[in-house]
Point group: C2
Chain length 290, copies 2
């Protein structure tokens, strides 16, 4: 998605939340806020929002010296997600359609806040996604493509969520899946450390980083290694909104976007409601460049 | 209230809403946004939020040439409020306690959105405020002070709301009330034109402007005439959050603040809930400087 004035407000709010949650020392707040406001006062509007997000992360790191303010939350999210996954694993594996059900759990993982919410809320959200009608649902095509593909690139998104991705990948049980994470920390996005912590390497052929630390996939910033996989695989499964934001304009690759829509602007552009879950084929559903 | 990082976000959001509501031509959005972001990147944090609001209004006017973007809404609010006031007038005048009931209507007027809401919502809100328990309620003292005072200064707030103030003032029926409005347009605040349109001049001794166009009362910016009234009257009735923000630190004047709390930060500082209505004596309830 191209940078919109509302993205600027959202980005500033997100930064202030780091201080409200105690993830950064309040002594840095004024300088970080001033630097971000100055950055956005001069920003090029013709760029992807996640590209601007990268610059904001750089400012936070430069001022505070903290490269990974979300670290405590990320560890907590991974551990909590492991607990929840263990709870649902047996029933999913015994389900009439474990592929579809584990895919839904992986999509639910994209929205669940493993932080201050109660168990009740997490269970409720999972049950909702199990039963939800997706306004864009190319899951039948996706599951066919998975069977057909000789090679798959799976783009991971957030910590916590990747635990549910792991179960989905275990059930997919494909011989040639490469799982990609961010190269270094940004927001609560999963890195190599997280992927190895939750054991993604046990269910895929290889785990790589994308060589970049945008909160999504920016093809002009990723590593050559990542780009080689991206260009050569038969199928790309892209999880979450950040990856969608960076790749939504691509309509000539066999990409399936699995996400919960967590932004009103993106919901409006896709033509779905805020909070909807979608499984969207880039080849089947052409969208305008957002 | 002193400028808080959240006020900056709120101010930017408010500005963007002018474009979303079609009150300003979208061709000005980028320059206005960049100028406001630059202003806030260098802003002095040791000032009142409404003082920063004045600068934002100045930027909007400089870039767009529009001095009163809210004008169409303001006219609509005044007209709508007149309709509602006529509907409630008889029952209030026949009530066992018309002073208290008209005061409550005047406070309800501080929160009602006369814009896109339905009649049902406005009526519901009015009925709620008629019945509400105010967490800070110095209304008995206020009504005593009104009887005792030889001179009253009534600080108006928003368009629409001033129609309900008019009914309250008619029922107060005091011989020496001066009603103050903003000197020139800012947000949807009432100016002299609005006061005369709704006929405030028929129920008070005099209508004056405060000589300033902050969205509240900034004593270091108001006119000498306003300051003379402010310093010499026996009682000041201050309507709304903007006036409260500018005067909340004053604890040695006989001011009564009548408002609906529409900001979480202010609610936290006063120790009430967002959305609560209060009637608060500055002499009785000392508060820290917010």
């Amino acid at each position: 998605m191209i940078l919109n004035p509302d993205c600027i407000v959202c980005s500033i709010n997100g930064t202030l939340n780091l201080f409200k949650k105690g993830l950064l020392d309040s002594k840095y707040q004024e300088e970080i806020l001033r630097r971000i406001l100055e950055y956005y006062s001069k920003v090029d509007y013709n760029q992807l929002t996640i590209s601007a997000g990268k610059q904001v992360k750089k400012i936070i790191q430069e001022v505070s010296g903290v490269s990974d303010p979300f670290k405590p939350l990320k560890d907590k999210y991974n551990k909590k997600a492991i607990e929840y996954c263990e709870k649902y694993e047996t029933s999913i594996k015994n389900d009439a359609n474990p592929l579809n059900k584990s895919m839904r759990l992986a999509i639910a993982g994209n929205i669940i806040d493993f932080g201050p919410t109660h168990d009740f809320d997490v269970d409720k959200k999972i049950e909702e996604v199990f039963k939800a009608t997706f306004p864009i649902d190319d899951s039948v095509e996706l599951l066919k493509e998975i069977k057909k593909a000789k090679s798959i690139l799976y783009l991971g998104d957030n910590t916590g969520e990747i635990v549910f991705d792991k179960l989905f990948l275990e059930i997919i049980n494909h011989q040639n899946v490469t799982f990609a994470v961010r190269h270094s920390p940004v927001l609560n996005d999963a890195t190599m450390e997280d992927a190895l912590f939750v054991g993604i390497d046990n269910v895929v052929s290889k785990v790589i980083t994308n060589g970049d630390n945008a909160p999504g996939t920016l093809l002009n910033c990723v590593s050559d290694e990542f780009l080689d996989y991206f260009n050569s695989v038969d199928l790309i499964i892209s999880k979450g909104q950040g990856n969608f934001e960076g790749l939504s304009h691509i309509t000539n690759k066999n990409i399936f976007f699995l996400l919960t829509v967590k932004c009103k602007l993106i919901a409006d552009e896709i033509g779905v409601e805020y909070g909807d879950c979608i499984v969207k084929s880039a080849l089947k559903h052409k969208v305008k460049n957002i």
